[in-house]
Amino acid sequence: MLAVGLMGGAPGLWPAPHAHTPWAIGVQDVSRYFGAKRALHRVSLTVRGGEVHALLGPNGAGKTTLLRILAGLTRPTIGSVRLMGHDVAAGNPLTHRLIGVVPAGDRSFYFRLSGQENLIFFARLHGLLQRDAVARSREVLGGVGLLDAAHLQVAKYSHGMQKRLSVARALLMDPPVLLVDEATHDLDPEGAGRVRELVRAAAGRGAAVIWATQRIDEIRGFADTVTLLYQGEARFTGTVPQLMAYSIPRTYLLRVRNGGLPVHTLATALAQAIGSRGVITADAGGDPEHWVLSLADGVALGDAIVALAGAQFQVLACQEARSQIEEAFLRLTREDTI
């Protein structure tokens, strides 16, 4: 596993963590077995206040299990989990004062009640008086843009509205730790962007966020740090740029033109121009201007472009076939040991 130091924390708005634990979230050597099945194996990570930490991994990687352990809903088989220095596994319900959770599913609200009544109920379970619970509920509903739907039954909310309500509930007490599980996996791009903005704003106010996702592209420009989980193991922990640096893009989509050559000879001419620098094949769309270039090991993209230009090809466009994060993801999850 790669272990890379994490970024510095934001100013804390919350109860000071124990002196010996500067992290808001600390997971150390956590393993979890369900019978013989291994869900997590010796996972460690730390997250500071103000930091968005992405938990990236395919289905079954162990993301939800880790979040459930952090939320105190599941006990780790071995290892320790501390939130603001307090041991979660000790089973003290008061550690729930420290967390806000956005679950993956929709079924966590009372559908016969309005959005506002749901929030009032949960705010009161957090210890607010009725009057304060009403005021706070309206405040967070406004924050997530649901004030107009405050009195509408949750059953009549759209999927995106329910997700925003879920974020609102997690933010009710402005918790120092926010756990978000696959919040955007079935939202449209606008809805997903809105949820990310809300969570990013919470981090801006000092919350430590763990954001579990299998959507590779959404972590760029959003998450500060990332843990890549695969089959229960942390294959990488570090910052997003560090993850991207781990990838070396090898496949590019090219748009090339050579007006002097007949279409049926293009493939041969391109292959000759690239030579041992890589392999160039027609794009699946069959368009004579679009090609896929896979570079050989050690060959720089620039060398290939120069070779094409030297053979009288005009390179009109060039882009990575996969994002750098996706490349890193595939590379890290393909290899048995890192």
């Binding site: 979890r32 369900f34 299990t65 459930r68 939320a71 105190g72 809903l73 599941t74 006990r75 089973g91 319900p93 008061l94 550690t95 729930h96 004062r97 967390i99 959770v101 679950p103 599913g105 929709d106 079924r107 966590s108 609200f109 009372y110 559908f111 016969r112 009640l113 009544e117 009032i120 109920f121 949960f122 009161r124 379970l125 957090h126 210890g127 008086l129 009725q130 619970a133 039954q153």
Partner: protein, 283 residues
């Protein structure tokens, strides 16, 4: 010892108490959203009273037991029986139903994600019923007095209330045990329903215990439901005072305390087991 600790503990208890109000409000709003259910419950209540009135007409009054020298009518006998066993139903039937409902709706985990004590959650889930059922009990008693001419002794109200108060921890203990069973085994309605039925049959709710065969009649003497029923009937129908009810309360109190302690302990064990297994949210 730090003087702030008891103060903080008291504040914590008050805060937990305040959360019960939130459960009550939630369930009232949900019940109100099903307005027709209110009406149908009222109709069912009246129909039940009418049914037992006509059944009572067939019963030979000389076969009915005496309380404080007063021979009871079947109507008075059974109305008190129904009132007390409806309380028992909150402990077993309703607790199973509401907890199962929370599991199926997916809201159970949301509750356990709040800083609320498991006991508060447990009580909160059936609090609406605990308020609703006594109102229903009072309504059925009032209906039997006003419409069917049943006579109750006003002097027996206070002793009857005391017996019910001592009986409630027993019901609560059963509720906690039922909740534990739902958490661990999920579908338990059949098994626990049979248990509740056995308790009811051996309690003399619908017929005097004397009609049961010898061994069952004997076991009824140690059935907390039967003890509570006999006490409340003696108070309300026979006007029996504290001097006669005292021994029954003394017999009932340790049974209630033991059931409550066992129930709370079992629920904690069940909750911890589910957390260890990671199956709390599974239904």
């Amino acid at each position: 010892m730090n003087a702030a600790v008891p103060v903080a503990r008291r504040a914590g208890v008050l805060q937990e108490f305040g959360k019960l109000g939130a459960f009550l409000r939630r369930d009232l709003l949900i019940a109100w959203s099903y307005r027709s259910a209110f009406l149908s419950d009222l109709v069912a209540l009246i129909a039940q009273a009418v049914l037992f009135y006509f059944v009572g007409l067939m019963v030979d009054p000389t076969k009915m037991p005496q309380y404080g020298g007063t021979r009871t009518s079947y109507m008075a006998f059974v109305v008190v029986g129904i009132a007390i066993t409806s309380l028992l139903n909150v402990g077993v039937g309703r607790m199973i139903a509401v907890l199962r409902n929370e599991q199926l709706m997916g809201t159970l985990e949301s509750l356990f994600l709040t800083p609320t004590r498991p006991t508060t959650i447990q009580l909160g889930l059936v609090l609406f019923d605990l308020v609703h059922i006594p109102i229903r009990m009072a309504a059925i008693l009032a209906l039997s007095v006003v419409v069917f001419g049943v006579e109750f002794r006003p002097a027996g109200l206070l002793p009857a209330t005391a017996i019910v108060a001592v009986f409630i921890p027993f019901v609560w203990g059963l509720a906690a045990t039922s909740a534990a069973a739902v958490l661990v085994f999920r579908r338990v309605t059949g098994l626990l329903g049979l248990g509740a039925l056995a308790l009811t049959v051996a309690s003399g709710t619908y017929f005097p215990l004397d009609l049961l065969p010898g061994s069952l009649r004997w076991s009824g003497r140690f059935n907390p439901v039967a003890i509570a029923l006999t006490g409340v009937r003696a108070a309300l129908i026979g006007g029996v005072g504290w001097e006669h009810l005292g021994p029954q309360i003394l017999l009932l109190a340790p049974m209630s305390a033991a059931t409550l302690a066992a129930g709370v302990y079992t629920f904690r064990l069940a909750l911890e087991k589910e957390r260890r297994a990671g199956t709390l949210g599974i239904y």
